[in-house]
Amino acid sequence: MTTPRKKGDNLTGFRRIVTQERVTAYAHASGDHNPIHLDADFASTTRFGQRIAHGMLSLAFVWEMIAANYPTAWHRGAMVKTRFTSPVIPGEEVEVSGSVKRIRTVDDREFAECEVSVTRPNGEKALSGSASAPLD
């Protein structure tokens, strides 16, 4: 995978199906057992009317993309800043994508500043925001 290092470069993204099994496994692995993710009866009483995936699961997809595109230095200064704008419903396949908006130099280190998103099948952004990864 070529490291995206100039403005306009696209990050190598991916698609992933968010099954209820994945959501349940994520709840156990993260410790987040909020019933809105797990309990169909409770979830039916919420504004969403059904179970929704954890926002942090979508963010994990973004982190996976950043770590894959910038594998050598993500752990020394990578940053993500995102808003969860629409819930992912179990069963949906989401698209994880990003592109470089600019290169910034801080203390003699170059960072790729990227726009990132997770998009639902209906075109709505489940997550949108920015990420920054060192280019060391």
Partner: protein, 131 residues
């Protein structure tokens, strides 16, 4: 508990040590099949963050009282990798708290430190609660 929240309130410290099997379970759940190449023996930073946030949410009684909650935003910066099994201490601060027509908005800032006191990561979480 929620009615007593005030900006400036501290939470924790939370002590966490995620062993390899717990890390593997997280990566399997997210579907990150190539993670072993990239993360080597490091814990996924978002797993640390998710663990602390889950403890914080539980401490507020949100899960037990089945309060509808929406995670509206998240920020995280990683400074150093954390190896599996390494104990991390996380301290959280309720940075801001407001009641907008009965809907509660909270921003928690969390700092993660290793045994030497070095900050390994920082995060900020925006949570909306509808009691």
């Amino acid at each position: 508990m929620l009615e007593n929240l005030k900006a400036g309130q501290q939470f924790g410290p939370y002590r966490i040590a995620l062993d390899e099997s717990v890390s593997d379970a997280y990566l399997a759940a997210t579907g990150d099949g190539d993670a072993s190449n990239r993360f080597q023996d490091a814990v996924h930073p978002l797993q640390l963050d998710a663990y602390v946030l889950s403890q914080l949410i539980a401490e507020l009684g949100i899960v037990e009282d089945r309060i509808e909650t929406v995670h509206a935003g998240q920020q995280m910066t990683v400074h150093r990798p954390v190896s599996s099994g390494t104990e991390i201490t996380a301290s959280a601060l309720l940075k801001s708290f407001s009641n907008r027509r009965g809907t509660l908005w909270a921003i928690f800032e969390t700092e993660f430190a290793n045994a030497d006191g070095e900050t390994v990561a920082e995060s900020s979480s925006t949570i909306i609660m509808m009691p």
